[in-house]
């Protein structure tokens, strides 16, 4: 008799515990406001990424097509993956003095792990992280980027 009692109570206990779980599943099935799934890419316009999100390294240029990069290679030294390569040139100032300046800021997006160390290292805040994240391209060579815009030069007063 004791065996039968235990058997029946086990069966009812099991059914109760299963119904408990099903009740929760049913609740979420009928309450649509609990759904947090984002319908990407349909919601691309409404999507909001936080301003600190690390998508890729970009160089900031102002309206006069001037940047703040002195070509000091601090970012190149800070990078753990050799993502950044800085090619410098020598500008001749009106007084006839030679001055080191940035020629090309090469950025290998395919090597970048978005660790933010270059941004931290930059003494003049010339580079920053952009919030773009759709980086797929059809050819790998397109991932090697030149960050300083053509014809851009260093802003006055930045040493």
């Amino acid at each position: 008799m004791a065996f039968l009692n235990k058997y029946i109570s086990d069966v009812f206990g099991a059914v109760r515990s299963l119904l408990k779980g099903m009740r929760l599943t049913g609740y979420y099935f009928t309450h649509r406001r609990e759904i947090i799934t984002q319908q990407y890419p349909d919601n691309k316009e409404q999507m909001h990424l936080p301003e600190r999100f690390r998508g890729e390294v970009v160089m900031t240029h102002d309206a006069n097509n001037e940047h703040a990069c002195t070509g000091c290679t601090a970012c190149e030294l800070a990078c753990p993956n050799a993502t950044i390569k800085i090619i410098t040139k020598f500008d001749i100032s009106p007084e006839g003095k030679k001055k080191k300046a940035l020629d090309t800021f090469v950025y290998h997006l395919e090597l970048c792990t978005m660790c933010n160390l270059c941004i931290e290292a930059c003494p003049t805040d010339a580079i920053k992280m952009a919030q773009t994240f759709e980086h797929s391209v059809t050819d790998r060579s397109q991932l090697t980027k030149k960050l300083n815009k053509p014809g851009s030069k260093i802003r006055e007063g930045i040493e």
Binding site: S17, T25, P50, R52, P80, E120
Partner: protein, 371 residues
């Protein structure tokens, strides 16, 4: 070679699980010797995702090597980074500002919560319940959003730097964390309702994969795996780092030693993490988030060791410095490797279906084991 071993002389069958198998949570290869359905031996074969991170770190500077450790135990990336930063700070003898310490502990506990949430979902999925996986990921998404806002990334944050943290907290941080705590307090009860009390789940977990306290110690198990067997091993209690000695929390201990005990330890740990975050979130001191350090870090000649409690157990960083810009040798003591070594002992004598449940409660992260 493996085909030759399909049956042994004693009439035992050899079955390969993995390296690509969903229940191993990564590229882990298990060679299982079976008699009928009963497990006689489990032999983990490692090395499929070995990236020689320790060797890589030897060519990186003390600022650079921290980011690589996020790629080991990617679910406790903050805590891994924390251990490395602590070890470098030990060598530099930098005193951290109070604010940096609190931010670090907050981030650690949020990471621990996110990791346990994912484990809970994956654990339930391993034993056959699919719905909890989506419930767990829903709450984990809230933590990921908080991380994204403050640290700039969702999984491999690289937020800890020697001397503090990389950036100050986002202005929304406190409000969002409070919202999350309020939300998760009710959801964790739902977790219990959905899975802990479930009769199928209980019968798959109770009495399965027993590990005695003595065996847990001799295999070097740490974290919830050892605490499920009643071994006190929480580094936050035993060797408090940062401000853990000033916080009120308890170390959850279960004495069962079976899968269900390990499950309960993690569930209770989630509640403890919530209470730690609650204690700190209104008491973040003002001040700097980073101590002043030199541009080029050089550790003095010597050996340095630091250890922290990750979501999986004790994580240690051992640095030998020759006085240069890069470490001479780095060794990581990862919790997953030691916990996995106990798998053979735990699984022997149980059925092959139980193996998945046992592995689920070990909470294995394969990149952490292989490095």
């Amino acid at each position: 070679m493996i085909e030759e071993l399909a049956t042994t002389d004693a009439g035992e069958m050899v079955v390969n699980v993995g390296p690509q198998h969903p229940s191993t949570h990564g590229v882990l290869h298990l060679v299982i010797t079976l008699r009928g359905e009963t497990i006689r031996k489990v032999e983990p074969h490692l090395g499929y995702i070995h990236r020689s991170i320790e060797k890589m770190c030897e060519s990186l500077s003390y600022r650079q090597f921290i980011y690589v450790t996020s790629r080991m135990d990617y679910l406790s990336s903050h805590i891994n980074n924390h251990a490395c930063a602590l070890c470098v700070e030990k060598g530099l003898q930098v005193e951290l500002p109070a604010r940096a310490k609190v931010i670090r502990v907050l981030m650690d506990e949020l990471t621990r919560l996110a990791s346990h949430q994912l484990w809970w979902g994956a654990m339930a999925m391993d034993v056959g319940a699919l719905t909890p996986f989506f419930h767990a990921f829903r709450e984990r998404e809230a933590i990921n959003d908080i991380m994204e806002e403050t640290c700039g990334a969702r999984l491999t944050m690289n937020y800890m730097v020697p001397g503090g943290v990389m950036a100050d907290l986002h202005p929304n941080f406190q409000k969002r964390v409070k919202d999350f705590i309020h939300l998760f307090r009710s959801k964790i009860d739902e977790y219990d309702e959905l899975v802990t009390g479930n009769v199928i789940f209980r019968s798959r977990m109770e009495g399965v994969g027993r590990l005695s306290a003595a065996d847990a110690i001799s295999y070097g198990c740490t974290g919830p795996t050892a605490r499920g067997s009643g071994v006190r091993c929480d580094i936050r209690k035993l060797a408090p780092y940062e401000i853990y000695d000033q916080l009120q929390f308890e170390e959850p201990l279960e004495t069962g030693g079976d899968c269900f005990a390990r499950y309960l330890v993690r569930m209770r740990e989630m509640r403890q993490s919530l209470s730690i975050i609650e204690q700190l979130i209104d008491n973040i001191p003002q001040g700097d988030f980073q101590a002043k350090t030199k541009a080029v870090l050089k550790l003095p000649k010597g050996e340095f060791y630091s250890r922290v409690e990750t979501a999986r157990g004790e994580f240690g960083v051992y640095i030998i410095s020759e006085g240069g810009m890069t470490p001479y040798r780095i060794k990581f003591r990862s919790p997953g490797f030691s916990n996995l070594s106990a798998l053979d002992h735990m699984a022997r004598g149980y059925k092959i279906g139980d193996l998945v449940a046992i592995m689920g409660t070990l909470d294995l992260v394969i990149p952490d084991i292989d490095r």
